[in-house]
Amino acid sequence: MRFLYQASQVYLAFARKSFQKQMQYRVANLAGLITNFFFLLVYVFVYTAFYAVYTGPQPLNLDEVITYFVLCQSFFMLMPFWGARSEITSAIKDGSVALQLTKPVDFQTYWFTDEFGKACYYLLMRGLPTFLISIFFFKVAIPQQPTVLIAFAVSMVLSILMSAAITITIFSSAFWTLDTTGISGISYSIIFLFSGMLVPIALWPEWLAHIARWLPFEGLIDVPFSIYLGKITGINIWIAISKQMAWNLFFVGLGRFLLNRGFSRLVIQGG
């Protein structure tokens, strides 16, 4: 028990450091906030124009779509789209990974806590403001039932965890290529598409939505937001959340496997 307590203290300290590091970039965060808003505005214009001419029934109405994109922009920085999170790559590229390996901590857990610190930061400093300001400008739906909110919170936590696991997995490919901009770009485009970031999966044609349901990435965006919008209910919430958990385990396992393989062939760069 005592050991566990001590270990958690160490990892918490890492998370805190990562949080504080982000705090340094206040102007950048403000710029990011404005950028989030700009994109949100364009999404709203585009979807409003699409819905204006199409009168038939749709799986999501315009207000629901707008709420969906408000959530997308609020949680954007917590998603594994962000190519700039390449500290793992640069650690491998410039050789400072050697220093990290001498520390008596688990490498993957270390990066997890790092991501966790960042996630807390972006939740507080980016997500919350984006969401709160949006409420004033757009018709944002807020779920009334507490069970929906709880289910959404659980699903969102799983989404953020999976995002971290995916990020670590992608960047551990630096052991093989050193420069991960390519591989993260390819994964980025696949994740962007199949998470439902650009178009909610409910609006996709049947065959493509079917593919998305078999992939893990809907768990990042579409699943939690559909729960929020009340589109996934009852027993389906349990199924969706179990699926998210299973994919989480998969990515943590895959990341571990890749890291272990990577260490066994690691050549320290630089000096």
Binding site: V27, A28, A31, G32, I34, T35, F38, F39, L41, V42, F45, V46, T48, A49, F50, Y51, A52, V53, Y54, Q58, T177, L178, D179, T180, T181, G182, I183, S184, G185, I186, Y188, S189, I190, F192, L193, L198, V199, L203, W204, P205, L208
Partner: protein
């Protein structure tokens, strides 16, 4: 002439250094293309469900998308030096440029060349070609010339944005990321007809930041949509020159910024 041959020499060096990470280079070439393919795929998905957007069909929008995509990708390839200029200021590297017997604008311009953007250019060209084959545009010699000028001018427009971003580093040291709204955001919003935006949004992106002149006005002209859009026909004829003018103004801004440069040391 000397400048030009020197430029190509720099470009050759840049390409050679990027080829050092060959596997990564190929990956990124592919990644660049795949990101933009996904982009357009999503637009296609929306049209599959909603059929049309403010009177524009999928391939008319594809035409818009292709033009802005090409302009931006070419600008990123050749104007990369301004895009990453902030690290020169942070590390004081700009000091060395000041003592060399060449103009600073030229040096920064020739400093970088991002070959991997070829992937993105190719994707945009393909979309434009498919769009053209799906639409029946009565091409004439004048229209081809118009398109060519449009592409050149649009590229200048985006380079101009990078120049503004780089120049602001003279004051802020770190680059102001707000410029991303106009570059990446510009490509995103430029992929849709401007008529869907609110008037203040439209006017801002016509008269202050002339994004509408990059692809919307030219597409109106080339697709024969000027009459139904309510845009003045003379404005549409002049639109392709806005990008050149914009770059010219940003170059003056650059000059002014250089005069105010204070080194960070080293």
């Amino acid at each position: 002439m000397h400048h030009l041959s020197l430029y190509f020499h720099f470009v050759k060096l840049r390409i050679r250094s990027q080829m050092e990470y060959r596997l990564s280079f190929l990956f990124e070439l592919f990644a660049q293309a795949s990101i933009s393919v996904m982009d357009f795929f999503m637009i296609a998905l929306l049209f599959n469900r909603f059929k049309q957007l403010a009177g524009w069909s999928l391939w008319e929008v594809g035409f818009l998308y292709g033009i802005v995509g090409i302009c931006f990708a070419v600008a990123e390839m050749v104007g990369r030096g301004f895009d990453v200029f902030q690290r020169n200021v942070v590390r004081g590297g700009f000091d060395t440029m000041l003592v060399r017997p060449l103009g600073t604008f030229y040096q920064v311009f020739a400093h970088e060349f991002l070959l991997r953007r070829v992937g993105r250019i190719a994707q945009a060209v393909v979309v434009l070609l498919i769009a053209n084959s799906q639409l029946t545009i009565p091409w004439s010699f004048a229209k081809v010339g118009y398109l060519f000028v449009t592409l050149m001018s649009g590229t200048c427009f985006f380079i101009g944005l990078f120049v503004i971003g780089a120049t602001s580093c003279f004051w802020t040291v770190q680059s102001i990321e707000i410029i991303n709204i106009f570059t990446n955001g510009g490509v995103f919003m430029g992929s849709y007809p401007f008529s869907i935006y609110r008037w203040w949004f439209r006017h801002f992106f016509t008269f202050i930041i002339p994004l509408a002149c990059v692809n919307y006005f030219p597409s109106l002209f080339l697709l024969g949509k000027v009459g139904s859009s309510g845009v003045s026909p003379i404005g549409v004829q002049l639109a392709p020159f806005a990008g050149f003018l914009f770059l010219g103004i940003t170059m003056l801004f650059w000059r002014w910024g250089v005069l105010r440069y204070q080194s960070t040391g080293h």
